[in-house]
Symmetry: C2
Subunit: 352 residues, 2 copies
């Protein structure tokens, strides 16, 4: 447990970042985001670069003012979205060429350009451009992607330092999929670049939980003790608990918002975090909730979740009222933030 000091405020570790992909946490206004008390949120460079675009972000003096959020923001590098969203991508030494998933227009991201974009966005924590591949790819592919990632990280770090950027941190991203020697090599090389923090990338994209934990078991020790460690895109609540046990400080994941869209709600059960049964998920569209007068979430700090019944929320889903998504999103993001608060509490008490 610790405190991470950033340009827009302090953040207690370990923490979870709600995702504001396109400059909004899906369905929530900023006062609703604030009511959930996150200390930092994440936004996506790839999406912001395409929409609203750099001209508008520049005009507003950055993302914070554009979206009315005055606390820390982390932005990813766009590497993952180029890998997951763009139909065509071409890895060159220079960088990665991709086609916008919106209009098919062609763009080139280079390690240096990604630094510049994130400078315009004004995020507190920036990530270097990396090449993401499926965690189950074969060794040759993985090695090549890892080497490109290291090369780009070197260029990005050099450029960042040359620009004398003071109000942002820059994190490197360890790749190497499930190959221990490649992961370790990646970590060793990034460490030499003296990043402000280190991320483990390329997990939660196809491998099993055990395979993910195995990577964490050896990779955390390879990273400097005095820098934050970020497990990108992970994950389920039990993944987060297991990763914290293995020394991870930072998380982000689309699960709480994506599951909300499907009517699946995360509900706290007890504080026995190691049991794997400290929570349950309910599918609000289940027949039995149609007449359930009990609150959506009796323990929530959000009045609407205590005051509306499960039956009402089930009705909103059935009738496709947009309010349904908002209530479920509030519930699930609150669950994830409460999980992190409980994790910090248990670390403090020496229980975790």
């Amino acid at each position: 447990m610790g405190i991470l000091k950033l340009a827009h405020g302090k953040v207690s570790t370990p923490f979870f970042m709600p995702i504001a992909t396109k400059a909004a946490v899906k369905t929530l206004s900023i006062d609703e985001v604030q009511s959930l008390r996150p200390e930092i949120i994440l936004s996506n460079t790839y999406h912001l670069y395409l929409q609203p675009g750099l001209d508008i972000l520049k005009k507003f003096g950055g993302l914070h003012k554009f979206m009315n959020w005055d606390k820390p923001i982390l932005t990813d590098s766009g590497g993952f979205q180029v890998f997951s969203l763009s139909k065509i991508r071409k890895i060159k030494d220079e960088g990665v060429e991709f086609q916008s998933h919106l209009d098919g227009s062609k763009h080139l991201l280079t390690p240096e350009k990604v630094v510049d974009i994130q400078k315009i966005i004004g995020s507190d924590i920036t990530m270097v451009l990396d090449q993401c591949i499926d965690s189950t790819s074969d060794r040759k592919e993985v090695q090549k992607a890892m080497e490109i990632t290291t090369c780009w990280a070197t260029r990005a770090r050099k450029y960042f330092l040359k620009k004398k950027i003071k109000d942002q941190l820059q994190f490197g991203i360890v790749q190497g999929a499930l190959f221990e020697d490649l992961r370790k090599q990646s970590a060793q090389e990034l460490k030499k670049l003296n990043f402000d923090g280190y991320a483990v990338g390329g997990l939660a994209v196809g491998e099993t939980n055990d395979e993910m934990y195995k990577v964490l078991n050896y990779i955390v020790d390879e990273l400097p003790d005095d820098r934050p460690r970020y497990l990108m895109g992970v994950g389920k609540p039990e993944n987060i608990v297991e990763a914290v046990k293995r020394g991870i400080d930072m998380f982000d994941c689309v699960i709480p918002t994506r599951e909300a869209r499907h009517g699946r709600l995360y509900i706290w059960k007890n504080s026995n975090l190691s049991s794997g049964k400290f929570y349950q998920t309910i599918n609000i569209s289940n027949e039995k909730f149609k007449t359930d007068k009990s609150p959506i979430n009796k323990d929530s700090k959000i009045p609407a979740l205590r005051n509306y019944s499960k039956a009402y929320l089930a009705h909103l889903y059935k009738t496709q009222e947009p309010l349904a998504l908002k209530l479920a999103t509030l519930n699930n993001v609150e669950f994830y933030l409460n999980l992190m608060r409980e994790i910090r509490r248990q670390i403090e008490k020496g229980k975790l």
Copy 2:
């Protein structure tokens, strides 16, 4: 100007009722509805009857508790939705048979059943079942529909009184399209039934503004002075001003929420209500708003509308973020409620 006392509170006339078709004002939670300070809202019997259905509403002790709204509610009779949504409908002496627009199931609404349904809903103001037709229909059709409406109103009133319902008001609905003699005949016959209030139905469904005002010019005098008069489904802001001048007390309309879905925002200009130029609408998707740093609505009492820029809202529309609909709905419903507040202020000052 006056005060209407209802089971769930007092309402200042003239007033506008935001529409909660399916037990929610589209995109808003109840605390957001409350922040707009309406004194009464409207919900639709047809939709509630189909979803969530009477069993669930009964279990909750009515719509107020189901949707967490403790102020007055008016429900329509379902007559208009049978006319506008159902693919097949069959008018019989007994009532109207229709097919659900959701699953094609067949249902029969009778004047008596509509009283019973609204009793279960527990609305403060209930409407009688009427037969709606296009305002431009030919005389023979209009006369027939008006006569059926009068017949059903007679049965509905008789049934309502027999049931000794005390905590609800019952309103009759004047039909007759654009035929002065039929409208007057309808009003005369309904007056004999001593309803708690009278609605003018079948307008804003195809006729011109002048045709609508012409009906109001003669029909209001036919209705009792001491009962509220309700112009159903109307309308544009200037329609409301003109109708108030002609003695109408109550309004509802889908415009503020429907226009919000299309990104059209109502913005107040000045208090010269008779000019027809007291407001403007802006289309937030217009190119010029992409870089507009000015607030969505600098005069709003809703912090989000003062704090977010037009450029941000334009971005939310472009990227189809659900938050866009909420912000536009808040803006437009607030505009309509402010219009009514201004109308009441000007009546009080003798200006209108």
